[in-house]
């Protein structure tokens, strides 16, 4: 495919709207005569509501309704499971009973005429609980790990005899890791405006998956799917927290129904730590055995993720271990620890970023046991195929990523001994780790309308939480139609548009991009057909195969003229052309190949040996991620992901008080994430990869892999700087103080 726009640094088509405030987010869609709802969150960590004294609150100014399990609508909660829902278990049925399953669970909602009135009344509502002590720490003796009971295959994999290989290995490491729970903490809080007209419900709701939210709310309320409309043109960051439809959406719709008015509901920052998912805390063990010359002979990777008591949240914690390196003996086993917490959820780089932290940290430890450079160790164990699936890779550029990355980063200047590099008084460490993420691809449809003025309108129910979906889809459409980007208008985020998969898993570019391309190709054919049928057209009477599309015009094959612009063709008939198509790839290719992105991530830390401050001075990620549609968007995606990795490595942790399960640092001043001053020089570079198998556009996706690999690279750099292995995240000053 020759390209003119794909691969070009097109600036964001929605940039102006965003910086001028013209972009409208869920909470901006105020409705006439709307009321405000504020959720009352449980202040017990487990137990049940015993009394709820709403009479004084009902008498407060502006209060319209107080809804609790006693008077909430009995909802249908029809069966509904989407790709992003846990396979096993049932969503929280909100306000349907008196049970409190975790701290912060919604137990009531107050509706009032103003936000102030609603907040005040929510704070004033007195609720009594029969409270028990919850179990919220997977290391609590009362926390019991179980086998996942679903079939998604996240659980076990084995080849060869890993335990035997470990026992026989002349060199080995066998270590455990503990990674903190994280909350997504996007800028934009979860927000929803709900409005009913008879039995039809419209939601303006922050969602990365509008068609699923539509179907789920319809199931919960027992409505036909087409009675629910979900709109979400813009998202102010999400990182996965808006993949699922959380209880507040149901509550807003219920409240609107019960008060007979549109209702607006925005979660507080603190509530963003309660019922909107989180990256689960994980405990892992990695054991790797090797020969003295650095051939890996066995890997055992055991992982334990926390989940709620009512759903089994699973993620791909251990998946990468089976295909990252060549090794005849691999055993992975995955367990879940149900706790008295809300259900976790996918968070940027889900599964892989946690699992790869453990694997890549352990590999670094092994490199020191062996006295082999960590990059060389990976090179010696580079597989020629996916040994877990017994399939060739559609493309794999890990070694090239290491080579280009090492050169650019200056890896050769690194002296391997811990504590051997200094900058003045500061200890300097350089670390490296691999990154990987699978190439997801799901069915998507798109619609394109060509107008007689030469413009094109694309519609698809995708979303854009920041990576630049609007821009990249504009590029794909403009490229395929051969027109300037200014003439393309992409609309997304409506459930009545052709359906798209969730905006996550790095599949938007591949899946939605392919669908947009298919729709544009279909539109081109439609234009050509119309021209061929038009006596006044130079291509009149040609066969469809006998015409070609060039720069927005149609001409006969072999004709050297500029051709007839489609604007003229459309003007002739006066009718716009509409085409609708789905993405498609050869299912056999998907079966034949193992498809993943790979990357090599380098980090340099400087540590103050006296007071223990850790700063990431520079980092570089080299990625082999298929075709890069827009280098500007791609590097902003990657550096954003790397910053997320700095947060994971050094700062992010939702601290729960074990006495009642409350998140104690549910506040932007206390839940640490990197600020500008924490970010040194970041760079992303892309290894050329021409992968014809993954999809029509040859793209693999970048959003998720960008976070994977960063945390282990930093942890390995910290070891290099200090000689100390810290096997938990985040790594804080107190961990390196006495190194």
């Amino acid at each position: 495919m020759t390209t003119t726009l794909i691969g070009k640094p097109v600036t964001r088509v929605d940039g102006r709207a965003k910086v001028t405030g013209a972009a409208r987010y869920a909470a901006d869609f105020n409705q006439h005569a709307q009321h405000y709802a504020v959720i009352v969150s449980a202040t017990a960590g487990l137990g049940r509501v015993t009394a709820l004294d709403d009479a004084p609150v009902r008498a407060m100014p502006g209060v319209v309704e107080v809804i609790s399990h006693r008077n909430a609508l009995r909802l249908a909660y029809g069966p509904h499971k989407a790709f992003i829902d846990p396979e096993v278990g049932e969503r929280l049925h909100v306000l349907q009973d008196d049970q409190v399953r975790f701290y912060g669970q919604p137990v009531a909602v107050v509706v009032a005429d103003t936000l102030d009135h609603a907040e005040r009344a929510a704070n004033a509502l007195r609720i009594s609980y029969a409270a028990e002590r919850p179990v919220v720490d997977p290391r609590d003796p009362k926390a019991l790990a179980v086998e996942p009971s679903g079939s998604r295959g996240h659980s076990h994999a084995a080849r060869g005899d890993a335990d035997r290989a470990l026992a026989d290995a002349p060199v080995k490491v066998d270590v455990t890791y503990d990674m903190a729970r994280e909350n997504h903490n996007p800028m934009e809080p979860h927000a929803v405006v709900a409005a009913w007209e008879g039995d039809r419900l419209t939601l303006w709701s922050k969602s990365q998956f509008v068609v699923n939210e539509q179907a789920e709310i319809a199931a919960i309320f027992g409505l036909p799917v087409q009675n629910v409309q979900v709109n979400c043109p813009f998202i102010g960051g999400a990182f996965g927290t808006s993949l699922r439809t959380w209880p507040h959406v149901t509550i807003a719709a219920m409240a609107a129904r019960q008060v007979g008015r549109p209702v607006k509901l925005v979660l507080s920052r603190r509530q963003m730590f309660f019922t909107t998912g989180h990256r689960p805390r994980t405990l892992q063990r990695v054991a790797i055995g090797a020969t003295r010359d650095g051939r890996i002979t066995g890997i055992i990777h055991e992982g334990n993720g926390e989940t709620s008591r009512y759903e089994e949240f699973t993620e791909a914690l251990l998946s990468a271990t089976s295909y990252m390196y060549s090794c005849p003996n691999v055993r992975t086993s995955y367990r879940l620890t149900p706790l008295d917490i809300g259900t976790p959820n996918h968070m940027r780089g889900p599964g892989e970023s946690s699992g790869m932290f453990a694997l890549e940290s352990a590999l670094d430890e092994l490199s020191y046991e062996l006295g082999i450079d960590p990059i060389e160790l990976r090179r010696r164990n580079e597989p020629t195929m996916d040994e877990g699936e017994n399939k060739p890779f559609s493309s794999r550029s890990l070694v090239q990523c290491y080579e280009r990355g090492a050169e650019r980063f200056g890896w050769a200047q690194r002296t391997p001994a811990p504590r051997s590099m200094r900058d003045g008084r500061l200890l300097v460490g350089l670390g490296v780790a691999s990154a990987t993420y699978p190439v997801w691809y799901l069915p998507t449809s798109a619609r394109v309308r060509l107008h007689a003025d030469g413009t094109a309108a694309v519609e698809v129910a995708a979303s854009d939480m920041g990576p630049g979906t609007y821009t990249s889809m504009t590029q794909v459409a403009a490229e395929t139609l051969g027109i300037p980007v200014e003439q393309v208008r992409v609309s997304i985020g409506r459930s009545d548009f052709p359906p798209a998969p969730p905006h996550g898993g790095s599949m938007t570019m591949a899946s939605v991009g392919s669908a947009v391309r298919a729709a544009c190709l279909a539109a081109r054919d439609e234009v050509a057909r119309r021209a061929i049928a038009d006596q006044r057209s130079p291509v009149f009477g040609a066969a469809l195969e006998g015409v070609e599309w060039i720069g927005g015009s149609v001409r006969r094959l072999g004709d050297a003229s500029a051709g007839q612009p489609y604007r003229d063709i459309l003007a002739g008939s006066g009718q716009p052309i509409e085409a609708h198509a789905s993405n498609h790839r050869d299912p056999a290719a998907a079966q034949r190949y193992s498809m993943h992105s790979f990357g090599a991530v380098f980090a340099e830390v400087a540590i103050d040996p006296d007071v223990g401050t850790i700063r990431v001075r520079r980092a570089l990620g080299a990625y082999g991620a298929g075709r890069i549609v827009n280098p500007l968007l791609a590097s902003s995606q990657c550096t954003g992901g790397m910053i997320g990795g700095i947060g994971m490595a050094l700062m992010e942790q939702t601290a729960l008080d074990v006495r009642d399960g409350r998140p104690v640092n549910a506040h932007m001043a206390d839940y640490l994430m990197p600020v500008n001053l924490d970010i040194g020089q970041l760079e992303a570079l892309f290894v050329d990869e021409d992968d014809p198998h993954v999809n029509a556009l040859g793209v693999k996706g970048l959003g998720e892999i960008a976070l994977v690999g960063m945390a282990p690279a930093i942890a390995n750099a910290i070891h290099h700087a200090t000689g100390k292995r810290v096997r938990h995240l985040p790594i804080r000053i107190e961990d390196v103080l006495t190194a």
Partner: protein, 325 residues
């Protein structure tokens, strides 16, 4: 937020009269409004003092005089601050974020409330918020809490950075109230929690902070503020140290040392200061003196690291100030 009345005043007299009748002063509002939104603070009347002429920053001989309504960012950027008291500028820049510093006043900074998370959650026991209800932090998550000056009733640290520098430098504050004016050391503004943690300062009802005077001294220009924390900005100190040195030849004539992040109030380290007197500039003497900072420390379940970090921070700050870093 609960309903409240709001009044803007143009004169000090009006302000003090309103406050004496029960109104709360509001300056930048960065602490007060935040806590009112959480209903932790519940004033019924606010009196806005921002129109009062208390924003001056000036030199008076060798002293630096700062109006109570001067904004943190203005004080930090002022040439007289940088000339006379660079420690004040450095401690301000290390605090909060640029947006907050643009709003926040010096008087408000000194009176900011604690950052203990349980204090901010209405459903947690907290003696400071609800006297007698108990202290959730003592047996809870207390990694950020104090190791000095704690009681069985409260273990929260005083969060201000600039207060640590002011205490080190022996700054004084002038206040005016219904019964006239008084001046006293900033250090005496702060109370220990004891069994009354809800009483944080020694201002009398209606008293208005008017200005802060930082006396010049031979050590003022050899002074540094070191704030240790997990991220580079926008985080309160795990441990901080404000130090100022007067050197003579290669030895210390006098030293000023105060620390933050570890005490229930900004903590002047007089024993450390004494031990430094007459000592040669250098790590050994610094370390020996800094060790004395541990006297009387009482770590909690999650903040033992502060015992390790405290002397290290003092040593490092002394090295920075002494020019041996």
């Amino acid at each position: 937020m609960l309903p409240f009345s709001f009044e803007k005043v143009r004169t000090e007299q009006d302000a003090i009269r309103a406050a004496a009748a029960g109104a709360r002063y509001i300056a930048g509002g960065t602490t007060l409004i935040d806590l009112m939104r959480d209903e932790v603070e519940r004033p019924e009347r606010l009196v806005d003092i921002n129109a009062l002429p208390m924003t001056d920053i000036r030199a008076d001989g060798a002293d630096l005089v700062i109006g109570a309504l001067a904004r943190m960012s203005d004080v930090a950027a002022h040439p007289e601050t940088k000339r006379l008291q660079p420690l004040i500028a450095e401690s301000l820049i290390e605090g909060a974020s640029p947006q907050l510093r643009n709003m926040a006043s010096m008087g408000g900074n000194l009176l900011q409330r604690v950052r203990c998370p349980y204090f901010r959650m209405l459903d947690a026991a907290c003696n400071k918020r609800d006297p007698g209800s108990g202290c959730s932090a003592i047996d809870g998550l207390n990694a950020g809490h104090a190791i000095l000056g704690t009681s069985d009733h409260c273990v929260a640290t005083h969060p201000s950075d600039v207060a640590v520098a002011l205490v080190a430098l022996g700054a004084a504050m002038r206040v005016r109230g219904p019964n006239g004016e008084r001046t006293f050391p900033v250090e005496e503004l702060f109370r220990l929690p004891g069994d009354t943690p809800h009483l944080e300062h020694t201002l009398r009802p209606g008293e208005l902070i008017v200005e802060i005077r930082v006396p010049g001294g031979p050590y003022a220009r050899q002074a540094r503020y070191l704030k240790v924390r997990d991220r580079a900005s926008y985080e309160f100190a795990l441990v901080s140290a404000a130090v100022a040195l007067e050197l003579e030849g290669g030895s210390i004539r006098q030293a000023r040392v105060a620390v933050g992040g570890v005490g229930t109030r900004p903590w002047r380290m007089r024993a450390v200061e004494e031990a430094l007197r007459g000592k040669p500039v250098g790590r050994d003497a610094f370390a020996e003196a800094a060790h004395l900072a541990l006297e009387g420390t009482r770590p909690l379940s999650h903040n033992h690291y502060k015992v390790e970090l405290l002397p290290r921070t003092i040593v490092r700050a002394l090295e920075m100030a002494g020019g041996t870093a």
